[in-house]
Assembly symmetry: C2
Homo-oligomer: 397 residues x 2
């Protein structure tokens, strides 16, 4: 039995705050501050350059990757940490297109996070316009998987609605059509069980600052199926993906397997925070996490739907089609969210009318859900979104 | 008058260590630990998602870029921080090639750091083999700048020998030939005065963990000349380089000027360490720094040459042709460097026979130089490199 009261106690949660935005930036594990301080003062400060060996900085991207691999159902040695999610999307798509030189079409959907589409645009423009990025509605993805498809590139969970694609079915259909697949796990890793190996996924990417709780600016990760890793040509062929980085050769030779997806110097201090976050994840039973995520989500939906008739559920009613977030549509959603935040319940807003709430069982319990529901009801009943102070837009929302 | 005893007191230098490897990884500014801890506990911990606005995380890449701009003679608003140096090289070269669609040749030299060449290889392969990467000897660069050149891509200071290119002359010649230039300032930024604006440089990139002392895994930076920034097409078109990232549009529109060279989420915790490092740099007179770097380097060269006839200077004798490092060639250089490190004088080794010493006036003084010289002399006189323990190679050197 997972003890979620125990995991909750491992996080620092500010006084008076009910935090339902862990799908955007997870809270701080209590050990993170000391772990980061150790890397700064005891490692950087005392070991200086020798920290690359002595403190194991150089090996961290693979070691942390292996710990993430368990959470996403990937084989050990098939995940490496580094860069940002945008960069990892670019690497994956460049590698996938290179493996399908005879095909020109990349398929994605409007539920994908914009940066994935932007990075694909930039890559395709660089490739000289021979390729096409097709962006369809989420419901039309399956129908557009046909024999001319090069790469299917999707984010598993829609960042606005929490709607979840059927990874197994879409991957199977793409493979049957001779296409490769790239899954973005930004809202999957740490949100529920993922089975990359079982679904035979080719490439996956994700970030670690959302459900994994590794802090602002935490590095991304990339997975390449072991059957492909030795064959991919890295577009971002940096020295730490070289077979022998410290031989300083004049030409690039790709490293062994997933090593070749490393690029430049890894973000040592950010990795220390990720390590602290993974210390918690190492003990988490993902099936139990998912069960509790569903139970808390259902409780939240029922509570809000009963108390707030003006809020319309934007997420699927069926838990099987949802990630670990719940979204509601409301025309004045931006101002309503500001009012909610002012009352200590933090969710976020996505244009044009989505109020998002992350349901993160590691540090949320029934009392938090009930408090959030009561506060949302108070905001709605009191029409607090009418207050001009809540209507003013901030730079980052 | 710069007071270098004052700047030295701002760094944590481990007991018993004379650190001449600041050209590889700078030491820790004493304020870095507290500054990083503040970002972790007071910002991430307490502000959670609101830190993007409240703590100014989103604005940091430009704010830090402006502070670096002063050190490299670039206009305010022309530098942005993020990613790794490898990624920034890729961005710069992709943008430069896009501005010269009629030309196919990229010129670099064997003194360039390998990752720059590797990233160019990867980019060129992705572009379909229409381009050519020509890598010549450093002395032959000027002769190969002819009217068919697309881009001249060089690291100003050779990472092995410290030999420094003539940025002004080579840039002038490249421009006269209709080519664009990219300067890698990895061993320039914080090492001496750089005048990007005065040299009319098109693109420059650099890292912040060497002379700038921002810590292991610190982010890189990129400069684009203001006359070009509004015209470049970003190959790595990530959402934070979008004109309106939080509008979550389906297609990419490049941001204003240098903003478009941002890609993904910035490394917030690493940026805190960089901020602490730049607090020191803000007070540094670069001309005074250079004068002291030359004086300390001359003292070091004279001392070693007098005491160690077996060491052959690999750096130029003429200070005007050197960066802020001094290298010596010695066949048993690897083992000799290990012996030296065991005695508390930290430099590093680059194959096949280069012993490197960074001369960093912010925290090195005459006593350090004299101690280093005496220790090198002791290692050489005692033939300590003969000890098998010093011959064993570590993974990272």
């Amino acid at each position: 039995m997972m003890d979620f009261a125990r995991t909750k106690a491992l996080f620092h949660l500010p006084e008076g705050v009910t935090y339902l935005d862990g799908n955007s930036l997870g809270p701080m594990p209590k050990t993170a501050a000391a772990r980061v301080a150790q890397t700064v003062t005891a490692e950087w400060g005392e070991m200086l350059i020798t920290g690359w060996n002595k403190a194991g900085w150089m090996a961290q991207p693979r070691a942390l990757g292996d710990r993430i691999a368990r959470l996403i159902g990937a084989a050990p040695g098939s995940v490496v940490v580094g860069d940002t999610l945008s960069i990892k999307v670019y690497q994956a798509l460049a590698a996938a297109l290179d493996l399908r030189p005879d095909r020109r079409r990349v398929l994605s959907d409007r539920g994908n996070f914009p940066t994935d589409l932007y990075m694909a645009e930039g890559l395709i423009a660089g490739l000289g316009g021979r390729h096409e990025l097709q962006v369809v509605d989420p419901e039309s993805v399956a129908d557009n998987i046909t024999d001319d498809l090069a790469v299917l590139m999707l984010t598993e969970v829609d960042y606005r609605t929490g709607r979840r694609h059927d990874m197994a079915a879409l991957t199977r259909k793409a493979h049957a059509a001779g296409a490769l697949v790239i899954w973005d796990l930004a809202h999957s890793a740490g949100a529920f069980e993922v089975d990359l190996a079982g679904c035979d996924v080719d490439f996956a990417v994700g970030c670690t600052y959302k459900y994994l709780n590794a802090g602002p600016g935490a590095p991304a990760f990339i997975h390449v199926a072991p059957r492909l890793a030795g064959r991919v040509r890295p577009a971002l062929s940096g020295w730490l993906g070289h077979e022998a980085p410290f031989d300083f050769e004049m030409t690039y030779r790709p490293g062994d397997g997933i090593e070749r997806m490393r690029v430049g110097t890894p973000p040592v201090i950010q990795m220390a925070a990720l390590e602290a976050a993974l210390d918690i994840w190492d003990g988490v039973d993902m099936a139990a996490l998912r069960a509790r995520s569903v139970a808390l989500s259902e409780r939240f939906i029922e509570g809000v739907e009963a108390a707030c008739p003006d809020l319309r559920l934007a997420s699927p009613h069926d838990a099987g089609q949802r990630g670990s977030q719940v979204s509601f549509r409301f025309g004045e959603g931006y101002a309503a969210m500001q009012a909610l935040i002012a009352k200590g319940v933090i969710g976020d807003f996505r244009a044009p009318d989505i109020m998002r709430f992350g349901i993160t069982p590691l540090y949320l319990d029934e009392a938090d859900i009930d408090r959030a529901v009561a506060t949302i009801a108070a905001v709605m009943d009191g029409r607090l979104w009418d207050d001009p102070a809540y209507r003013q837009r901030a730079a980052v929302t």
